[in-house]
């Protein structure tokens, strides 16, 4: 069942694509952020069901933001997005508490499968 989602990525193109995927599937996109700091601030106010988080971003990176969000809510559902070559970053993120991950480039059904799985449980 679709819920609310916050999309975090420093590339406008990626944000736009993710927002479209989620919107078309009936998700409520409650906000978007272009770095970790913004993401944490929005999370604090909105408490969305899901956060998709890019790992490599300026100002505050994804893993740092993930940790900050988990400080706010230990049960926060954060899914990281990363490129294929950043395997160790994905591992770090999962160890830090990310629920799942999406590998770029992605297809819409992959994104939705991960999102529904994470929110569904």
């Amino acid at each position: 069942m679709p819920g609310s989602v916050l999309v975090v990525d420093d590339a406008l193109f990626m944000r736009k694509m993710l927002i479209d995927i989620f919107s078309q599937a009936g998700w409520k996109v409650i906000g978007e952020a272009e770095n970790g700091e913004e993401a944490v601030a929005i999370y604090q106010q909105q408490h969305p069901d899901l956060v998709t988080m890019d790992i490599v971003m300026p100002v505050m990176g994804g893993i740092e933001a993930l940790k900050a969000i988990l400080q706010i809510e230990s049960q926060a559902r954060v899914v990281v997005c990363s490129a294929l070559g950043q395997k160790h970053l994905i591992l770090d993120a999962i160890t830090a508490g990310a629920r799942d991950f999406i590998v770029k480039p992605f297809q819409s059904d992959q994104v939705l499968e991960v999102a529904e799985r994470v929110v569904g449980c």
Binding site: L84, H88, L91, F101, V103, E113, G120, C121
Partner: protein, 617 residues
């Protein structure tokens, strides 16, 4: 600290402490209030804890620490009860498993579940199973048995390690994860191959777990393999690559080497001066030294039977408890020493024999004595397992032997009981009417026989109905260097291991009688059949002689006289395995090179004669 350097030392020493712990526990079983034993046990656990902690074997240290705590409670109370002994034994088993992990270079297994067992004196309404502490964890879980979950990723999954990490974390939603392959560390360092095996104590049914995992499109296959049962029974003692040698023995070896160097110069001098008496003297001393050196080196390979006996005590203890029998085990001769290679080969056969004794020996009785004895007889070591149970009914064996065609109707009537008992070692022979969980599948004694004969030994069975059964193993002291009897047949020299020879005699033709086709000889008031080695080996017939050289030996429990051309004498030889294709020669178990450079084959009479028998049929 260079851990690798100390690892072997740790392994050897820890093994000694572990063995001591098992031994003490078994003694405590019959004397639960012996303070000194409890104290000693506490110290053993303490030693292991200290060593393991230093080596950073954390699981071992944690477990040893726990045992130490438990024993401290027992020590203060002044006794241990049966349940506690079983629990402590399970703890020692687990320590041994960890020891195995370390020696194999594996990661230590988790001791978490053991640490959840109740400490002594903690109340429990029902006896606590030491290894699976359902009661304790029942609060958090439904208390399921550990299950295995196997997850195979589709080959197309681009990044396997993070996927497996997510799945492994997901598994902790299903229950308590006990262990995984690859481990968390391996996943984090990307040492993965698209598969994940997780051992967990589940909260959910396997169906529910399957539904959850099926949500991952990256997962191609989900299965729940049955865990293999890990029983402590019959597990081999650890084969360790290093040996502890007393400094005394080493000093002796060094002294001998020093003397050898002296002799070498002496011989070189004598040779230079062409001084024969000195040469002769030097060679004499050299042979004395070599003999001594050989003896000392063999000593290094020698180990006592103590570890094996204590393992067997444990087998008897566990079996007796599981079959609700009261069985006292008497051991004697645990200090007898034998080549370590032989001891390793003895583990399985003796475990089997002891199980047989508990199961068959006491089929109709609830209590009795099993005696485990070892003693030296010249160049041989004898190990005997005897019980005072129901014994074997010779009539039953007669019937089965007849039914299975092992004996002819005429043979059934004339065969002696003793010879009859040896038939138990025939493949597929079982007198157990029903198969029990312990033994009685008819695959027992023939395996024992094969194993024992493989190391040049003999199996002798004796039984008296109503009084018990005894099985005796006659074993060589060492595998590599053995005493042989050299013989000659049709100008070919051959060797027979002395363990197989009862006597070498010369008989006059007057002592030979003919019974039908078979020639018999009067040997110690018994007629034994004569067989010609020439005939067996298909060598040309020999000429008649004044007296017949005879090797009296035992084959399949029957004495026979083997006629040879000449008895040469006894000698110690270094036996070497034959390289292919020579290892295919039937009746030949190895070869050796004599002092004059001649290669001599070692005759394996058993297989030679058995083969001949089969050929006759």
């Amino acid at each position: 600290m260079d851990k690798e350097k100390y690892r072997n030392m740790y392994l050897v020493e820890a093994a000694e402490h572990l063995q001591a712990m098992s031994e003490i526990l078994l003694r405590l079983d019959s004397e639960p209030q012996n303070h000194q034993e409890i104290d000693a046990l506490f110290r053993e656990a303490h030693s292991i804890k200290g060593m393991a902690a230093t080596m950073e074997y954390e699981e071992t240290a944690r477990l040893a620490h726990r045992l130490e705590d438990d024993l401290d409670l027992c020590r203060k109370r002044g006794s241990v009860d049966t349940t506690e002994i079983d629990q402590l034994l399970a703890g020692v088993d687990l320590l041994e498993a960890l020891h195995d992990d370390i020696s194999q270079g594996r990661e230590e297994r988790s001791v978490e579940s053991y640490l959840h067992t109740l400490a002594p004196g903690e109340c429990s309404d029902s006896p606590v199973s030491p290894v699976q502490p359902e009661k304790e964890e029942g609060r958090q879980t439904d208390g399921g048995e550990p299950i295995l979950v196997r997850i195979d990723l589709a080959e197309t999954v681009p990044v396997a390690a993070p996927r497996l990490l997510v799945l492994l974390k997901k598994c902790s939603d299903f229950g308590i994860v006990l262990k995984s392959w690859p481990s968390l560390d391996q996943i984090l360092t990307d040492k993965v191959d698209g598969r994940l095996l997780v051992q967990l104590r589940p909260r959910l049914t396997t169906q529910d777990i399957h539904v959850q995992l099926a949500k991952y499109s990256e997962v191609e296959e989900i299965s729940f393999p049955r865990p293999t049962v890990n029983s402590s029974l019959g597990e081999r003692p650890h084969k360790s690559a290093s040996v502890r040698v007393s400094t005394g023995r080493l000093d002796h070896l060094i002294n001998l080497t020093g003397e050898l160097i002296t002799i070498r110069y002496q011989l070189e001098n004598a040779l230079k001066q062409q001084h024969l008496p000195d040469l002769d003297d030097g060679v004499g001393q050299l042979s004395r030294l070599v003999k001594n050196l050989h003896h000392q080196v063999l000593q290094v390979r020698m180990v006592s039977l103590r570890a094996l006996f204590s393992r067997l005590s444990r087998v008897v203890h566990d079996l007796a408890r599981s079959s609700a029998k009261t069985i006292e085990l008497q051991t004697d001769g645990a200090d007898i020493e034998i080549d370590r290679a032989i001891v390793e080969e003895l583990v399985d056969p003796l475990t089997h024999m002891v199980r047989n004794a508990v199961d068959h020996g006491f089929r109709d009785k609830k209590e009795g004595i099993i005696s485990l004895k070892a003693w030296r007889d010249r160049d041989q070591v004898l190990v005997q397992v005897a019980d005072d149970g129901s014994g074997i009914d010779p009539q039953v064996i007669r019937r089965i032997a007849r039914e299975r065609g092992l004996l002819s109707a005429a043979q059934v009537k004339t065969v002696r009981d003793y010879d009859l008992y040896q038939l138990i070692c025939q493949p597929g022979f079982s007198t157990a009417d029903t198969v029990t969980g312990i033994s009685g599948r008819g695959v027992g004694m023939d395996v024992v026989k094969t194993a024992i004969e493989g190391i040049g030994g003999l199996v002798l069975i004796d039984s008296t109905p109503g009084e018990g059964t005894s099985i005796t193993l006659k074993l060589p002291l060492s595998l590599a260097i053995i005493r042989v009897l050299l013989i000659e047949s049709a100008d070919v020299r051959m060797a027979i291991p002395i363990t197989r020879v009862i006597q070498a005699v010369e008989v006059s033709p007057a002592d030979i009688h003919s019974s039908g086709k078979q020639l018999m000889v009067d040997y110690q008031q018994d007629f034994i059949p004569l067989l010609s080695l020439r005939k067996i080996l298909k060598q040309p017939k020999g000429t008649k002689k004044e007296s017949l050289p005879l090797v009296v030996t035992e084959v399949m429990g029957r004495r026979i006289g083997l006629v040879v051309d000449r008895l040469i004498g006894q000698q110690e030889v270094f036996v070497q395995h034959l390289a292919p294709p020579f290892d295919q020669i039937p009746g030949c178990s190895g070869g050796t090179i004599l002092g004059d450079g001649q290669v001599v084959f070692l005759l394996d009479l058993q297989s030679l004669l058995e083969r001949r028998k089969k050929g006759e049929r």
